[in-house]
Amino acid sequence: MSADGMRVRITETSPQVYARAGGVLYLIVIVIGFCSEFFVRDKLVVSGDVTATAANITASESLWRITIAGELILLVCSVALTLILYVLLRPVNKNLALLAVFFNIVEFPIEAVSKLCLFAALFLSGNADYLKAFEPHQLHALVKISLKLHDYGFGMDLVFFGFACLVYGYLLFKSGYFPRTLGVLMAIAGLSYLTNSFTLILAPAYAGRIFLILVFALIGELSLCLWLMVKGVNVSKWNEKARLASG
């Protein structure tokens, strides 16, 4: 190893710092994701009643907007988390670690743009003058269409996230510096995302029931999050593998 290489190694941030930061970011992602889905949208959107849904959205406009803002912050954290997982898992297999990044790079913009549908739902629930050209019931139907578009956009981006989780699972499993169980749990999380999304696409009638499968995604991701925060990474094994990988 050259002298330059040595200096870089020494001044570089320890992988432990990356792991802890990753754990904290992951916790933010999980908490925001869970709250916005189950405490806000699930409460405001009344299934089978578009009029009540539109009324709820108008009545809770600031809550609706805060949720969207929160989900954009979630995405910003996810971008940073993606970089951290890349750095942590790169020593296992550089190309696969990059592939996971690529899956996420495609996933995030789709998720972010699909939030536009939530704004559309908000506008269509309001009573601005220019909307008077439509009957209230028609506007409510358009609200529902916007919400459906959001759900499908979310389902689509989870296809890519599902594949990313499978790659993460493999890399964690092979790493030697993370427990293999974490790898298995993340792979299961990936499979449950894929099952959920493809059910929504191919058999939408069952989508409501299969949705519960995402509990496995929560288990896998929460385990990785807590492990990163509490245990971090086995630094000596990580260093060994990183040295091997970069020469």
Binding site: M1, G48, V50, N95, L98, L99, F102, F103, I105, V106, P109, I110, V113, S114, E135, H137, Q138, H140, A141, K144, I145, K148, L149, Y152, G153, M156, V159, F160, F163, S197, F198, I201, L202, A203, P204, R243, L244, A245, G247
Partner: protein
């Protein structure tokens, strides 16, 4: 070269195997794309006829959903080949290869997003109670409108894939481990896709551009699957970089 470097080089997947895997995923991308676009979208969507399109969609709902699922698989495979081509062509120029990959990913994002408007007609025509406030003609018009948005979105993505093919072709021409002619065909195909910078021109030239692009893709796929890359020269160019 130090000892750890040596062992790493050896344990790393060989460039030839990587090239073959690239060939496999490239083939999957092309086949899934042809199936979803040619055998589902083109067959069921009757441009300019909202009623006929709606009737087709409802009569072949399962096929339409399958087409959408295959579109998603196509995009996942496209991301995989973007990562693989980046790695394969990195020895020629790391920065150009990275720019190509970013353009390819932007194309994937735009194309996937436009697919949201491919699936939307299914629930708009689904006959749910809340939709009864619109007349059947209005719903059919909305469905066709969404399909047109999907089409235009995919056309925008083609411009990005065009720039991607240009850069990839350039890298293949400059490489020592793949035949130049494959790069030339890729550049020509890329220029063809760029006709979508002005969509009316793009749509007019579409059959010729598709033929050219498929020819180039086919040649590259066969080469990657059968010959892979010249491993010796790939390693030389990689260590020179």
């Amino acid at each position: 070269m130090s000892a750890p470097v040596m062992t790493e080089r050896i344990t790393e997947t060989s460039p030839r195997l990587k090239a073959r895997i690239t060939g496999v995923f490239y083939l999957l991308t092309i086949l899934t794309g042809i199936f979803a676009q040619g055998f589902v979208s083109e067959r069921l969507v009757v441009s300019g006829d909202a009623a006929a399109t709606a009737a087709n969609l409802l009569a072949h709902k399962g096929l339409f959903q399958l087409g959408f699922a295959v579109f998603m698989i196509e995009m996942a495979c496209n991301i995989v080949i973007t990562a693989l081509f980046y790695d394969l062509l990195k020895p020629v120029s790391r920065s150009v290869s990275l720019v190509a990959a970013f353009l390819g990913l932007a194309g994937c994002v735009i194309k996937t997003l436009s697919r949201l408007f491919f699936i939307a007609p299914l629930f708009i025509l689904g006959g749910a109670h809340y939709l009864s406030v619109f007349s059947a003609e209005q719903l059919q018009a909305l469905a066709l409108l969404f399909l047109k948005v999907n089409d235009r979105g995919a056309a925008i993505a083609l411009v990005f894939f065009g720039f991607y093919a240009l850069l990839t072709g350039y890298l293949i021409i400059r490489s020592t481990f793949l035949p130049r002619i494959l790069g030339v065909v890729s550049v020509l195909g890329g220029l063809g896709w760029l006709s979508f910078l002005y969509p009316p021109l793009g749509y007019r030239l579409f059959p010729f551009v598709v033929a050219l692009a498929l020819l180039g893709a086919g040649a590259l796929i066969v080469w990657l699957l059968v010959f892979g890359v010249n491993v010796q020269r790939w390693k030389e160019q990689a260590s020179a970089a």
